[in-house]
């Protein structure tokens, strides 16, 4: 999440100047790798409260999709160049999935396993 936020701040700070996308794309890639690693680790947990996990994940995903959708809508309305838009949307996607994972895991870890 932090990596995506840093990349987005860099892009937002330079968006009017056609910035190089190397930094935000690089950060997005590392963020994706870390997110996938987290998903793999969580999915292999034995005796976990998966029912609670998916209940929280569903609602968190819905809520943050609305928020990310609003932010993405702003960038689309602004005719953001395609490459920058793709980088921002990728970052938003990672952000939404990451937050969903954080919230769902944080609740389920303290609940009795299924």
């Amino acid at each position: 999440m932090v990596l995506v936020i840093v990349g987005t701040i860099y892009l937002a700070a330079n968006i009017a100047n056609d910035p190089s996308l190397a930094i935000p794309v690089g950060l997005d890639v590392v963020a994706v790798v870390l997110l996938l690693a987290a998903i793999v680790v969580v999915s292999r947990l034995p005796d976990f409260a998966w029912t609670t996990f998916f209940i929280v994940a569903r609602w968190a995903l819905l809520g943050y999709l609305v928020i990310a959708g609003m932010i993405g809508f702003v960038f689309i309305i602004d005719n953001t160049p395609a490459a920058q838009l793709a980088t921002l949307v990728a970052g938003l996607a990672v952000f939404v999935l990451d937050v969903t994972l954080i919230l769902a895991f944080s609740v389920a870890r303290y609940q009795p396993p299924d």
Partner: protein, 205 residues
């Protein structure tokens, strides 16, 4: 001799701790969803229509409420709660936290999306804007607040609400999770003060 009448504290049956208040029936207050929906529609209309007044209204009202609620909760409600009895503290949190779950993301979205559009309209996004550095500082402040709120506080908020639904909530766990709010109040408070300084500077220069 003055007789002091003490109310006897009823002995708890063996194995039972103090009674924990139950949070409302739903974690997310469903009656608040229509309001959130109306705000979302208003934002979409304002952004799609480049409606400058509506963008300004959303950004200023959303930002003022976000900052105000954060500072009030961090520096007024928090210390007061710290002096309340444990049952009173938990009862307040059980009713307060679901509202915050819906309120804060709505205020943040209401602030940031129109804020970006306003900055674009006013030319603040250009690197040539003389106070561009202040704008970038505001991005960093928001980034720090987002990390703390989403990564630390919201998970704790949800975990406490779910814990309170158990037949025998773990009081130690609830206390441990709620301590996050105390530890981070200083950071989020400082970030909100920084936001006030930055925004008022940009508005007046």
């Amino acid at each position: 001799m003055t007789e002091v009448v003490e109310h006897a504290v009823p002995a708890m049956p063996h194995g039972q701790g103090p009674a924990f208040p139950r949070p409302p029936a739903t974690i997310v207050p469903l009656q608040g969803l229509p309001i959130v929906g109306a705000v979302a529609i208003f934002l979409v209309v304002a952004i799609a229509g480049n409606w400058l007044w509506a963008l300004g209204f959303s950004h200023v009202v959303g930002g003022a409420l976000w900052t105000g609620v954060d500072l009030f909760v961090g520096f007024v409600v928090g210390p007061i709660m710290g002096r309340m009895s444990i049952p009173a503290r938990v009862e307040f949190s059980a009713r307060f936290m679901p509202v915050m779950l819906l309120l804060m993301p709505t205020l943040v979205t209401m602030t940031l999306a129109p804020g970006w559009q306003l900055a674009r309209h006013l030319g603040y996004l250009d690197a040539s804007y003389p106070h561009h550095g202040w704008l970038v500082a505001s991005y960093i402040v928001v980034g720090v607040m987002a990390t703390i709120a989403i990564g630390v506080l919201e998970p704790a908020n949800l975990a406490v609400l779910f814990e309170l639904r158990k037949p025998q909530p773990n009081g130690e766990l609830i206390a441990k999770l709620m301590r996050r709010f105390v530890y981070t109040a200083g950071i989020t408070g400082a970030m909100q003060v920084a936001t006030l300084i930055i925004m008022t500077y940009i508005a007046t220069h």
